[in-house]
């Protein structure tokens, strides 16, 4: 074995489809091995997504079963199945159970799952666009930007778009901050960790000043509303809010899935991505819009819930690799499941208290972010 395969031999083999003299070896190696490898990849893909879906359903069931009075999971399931027209399983026995499940617990569980999926997808997208696993809407200040806009809606009692007003303003705030981060943190086609984190500090500082000003302006009741809402909580989620959040999140996650293949190519860097046919500028603008949209869904209805978009895609990458075609859907499902479980914990950790979930995610996400940052410094060659 002296040099590379002689070019002419490689070419002719490639043209004749392996029927030449090297036919036996390549014929024995590939047709048996490749379909099996493809099948294995497909199984692991379906397995991961299926497993996460089961986890999400299980978490939802558990979360709906726990509350002021417990409802056995079998009865929760029975209630859902009866609503779907299937006469299966036991109906809840507690007189208030049906009412509690369908008016309080289910909207909250669904809202939590929707926001979890949206935030995790936003994180995965943002990391793809910046080519940097530390990019996350709350870290770089997008959540805070959306929060300022949403707080303004509360303080000034704006209502020009009905129930969509807060969501629309949060989206506008998120979009402006995402664009700002993009313009300020990118230099020469790449985003360095230090620049990104420092940009996040600057933007968070300005956004917090805006929030402080709004708090100063607000009357006592709006002030209380804003304070609780910046802590992040799913308390009091209603179907009316789910009806706004669910379609937005579904469109956002769906579009992200369509972009997955191109996001993979973006990992090559702007120039090389363009060389393999990606319209980099357009892709990036679409992604920025989606990140703002998905972040706004969470911020508008549940306040700032940080680090979901950082932790979830990172864990999925550890398990399934960085390919976005699996990363995006798996992050959405895992984000939904994780946030439903976190919400369950927030409701039950202290008896008769509903802890703000944003506090819990930051409690876990903060140290995690620090750990990632330390690791980033060690492997500085990649993206420091």
């Amino acid at each position: 074995m002296t040099t590379l395969t002689p070019p002419t031999a490689g070419r002719s083999g490639d043209r004749s489809g392996g029927s030449g003299q090297d036919g036996p070896t390549s014929g024995a190696g590939t047709p048996g091995g490749r379909p099996r490898a493809v099948a294995r990849a497909l199984v692991s893909r379906v397995g991961l997504l299926g497993g996460l879906l089961l986890l999400l359903l299980g978490a939802g069931l558990a979360s709906a079963a726990v509350g002021q009075f417990p409802i056995p999971p079998s009865e929760v399931l029975g209630s859902v199945l009866h609503r779907l027209g299937l006469d299966l399983g036991p109906l809840p026995t507690h007189p208030q159970a049906e009412n509690s499940l369908w008016n309080v617990r289910f909207p909250r569980v669904v809202m939590t799952a929707v926001v979890g999926a949206a935030l995790a997808t936003a994180g995965a997208l943002m990391q793809g666009v910046f080519g940097n696993p530390l990019a996350e809407p709350s870290v770089v200040g997008v959540s805070a930007g959306a929060a300022v806009a949403a707080a303004a809606v509360i303080v000034f009692s704006l209502d020009f778009l009905g129930p969509w007003t807060i969501a629309a303003c949060a989206f506008a705030g998120g979009l402006v901050t995402t664009l700002l981060v993009y313009v300020m943190a990118r230099d020469n086609g790449r985003t360095e960790v230090v620049t990104l984190v420092l940009t996040g500090i600057a933007i968070n500082a300005v956004a917090n000043a805006g929030l402080a000003f709004l708090l100063f302006l607000a009357d006592t009741s709006s002030r209380e509303e804003i304070v609780f809402w910046t802590l992040g909580s799913f308390n009091g989620s209603r179907w009316a809010e789910v009806q706004v959040a669910l379609p937005i999140a579904a469109v956002g996650v769906g579009l992200s899935l369509l972009l997955a293949r191109q996001l993979d190519l973006l990992a090559l860097g702007d120039r090389a991505a363009r060389h393999v046919g990606v319209d980099v500028e357009r892709l990036r603008l679409v992604c920025i819009g989606l990140v703002a949209l998905l972040t706004a869904v969470g911020v508008a209805f549940c306040g700032v819930i940080a680090f979901v978009g950082l932790v979830v895609p990172h864990l999925i990458r550890l398990v399934a690799g960085p390919g976005h075609r699996l990363l995006v859907p798996a992050s959405a499902l895992a984000g939904a499941a994780l946030l439903v479980l976190a919400d369950l914990w927030a409701r039950t950790a202290i008896t008769s208290a509903d802890l703000p979930i944003g506090m819990l995610t930051s409690l876990i996400g903060g140290p995690f972010f620090f750990w990632l940052l330390r690791r980033a410094r060690r492997t500085a060659g990649g993206w420091a």
Partner: protein
Amino acid sequence: MSGRLEARGLGVRIDGARILDGVDLDVAPGELVALVGPNGAGKSTLLAALAGDLEPTEGTVTLDGRGLRAYRARELARVRGVLLQQQRLAFGFRAREVVAMGRAPWHGTDAEDRDAEVVAAATSRTDVAHLVDRLFPTLSGGEQARVSFARVLAQEPRLLLLDEPTAALDLQHQEGVLAVARAEAADGAAVVVVLHDLSLAAAYADRVCVLADGRVRAVGTPREVLRADLLGDVYRHPVDVVEHGGHLVVIPVRSPRASPRTSTVTESEEDPCPAV
């Protein structure tokens, strides 16, 4: 799509500094053109302009008679492949996945059916078949360069633009990569390679284009262009051009004092930790 590239009167200014000035260059299908010249001569800038990455301040670049700007990104990617000097990858993809990224322009076309076959051929031609399951960021610089070259080949471009493809490579793989580039040209592709090693340029190029201070100083066959007087002037260092085995070899003239003593060299080659 044949891959005929024509640059006319190319000028590039960056922050007022003239990087390229009045560059004319034609590259025909089936030919390998080497771009050589000292540091800062504008080689990479010219390659970027030829690739469509950089909008020239003056002049035009056409591919098969159409301006580069008239191509959509994906359409252009089916015709021209580019290997950059520096390889970057933001996430830990496997080498196999990186090579397969070269197939992206063909996604959704009939050519997609050949993906596996083309990727396998590209990895074996660049001698990276044994690396395909490794994570790209854990590969050495030379291995990354070869995997990236495999990605460019997997793209099946009719025009190949290679920016110093041999810089990080050992002797064996330098020859290997240029042999593959040569074979691509023999197969009808137009190939432009930025090279620092003039002897490599002499051995593999049909034509050599010498750039100096943003202008084309000379262009022609290696024998026409690689002359001691011209190179000595362009590189501001005297060179000898000798003939060896049918190819030209360019050797910088060295003063005797600059060379290490021969005995030390042979010793240190035997012993990785020579006694001081």
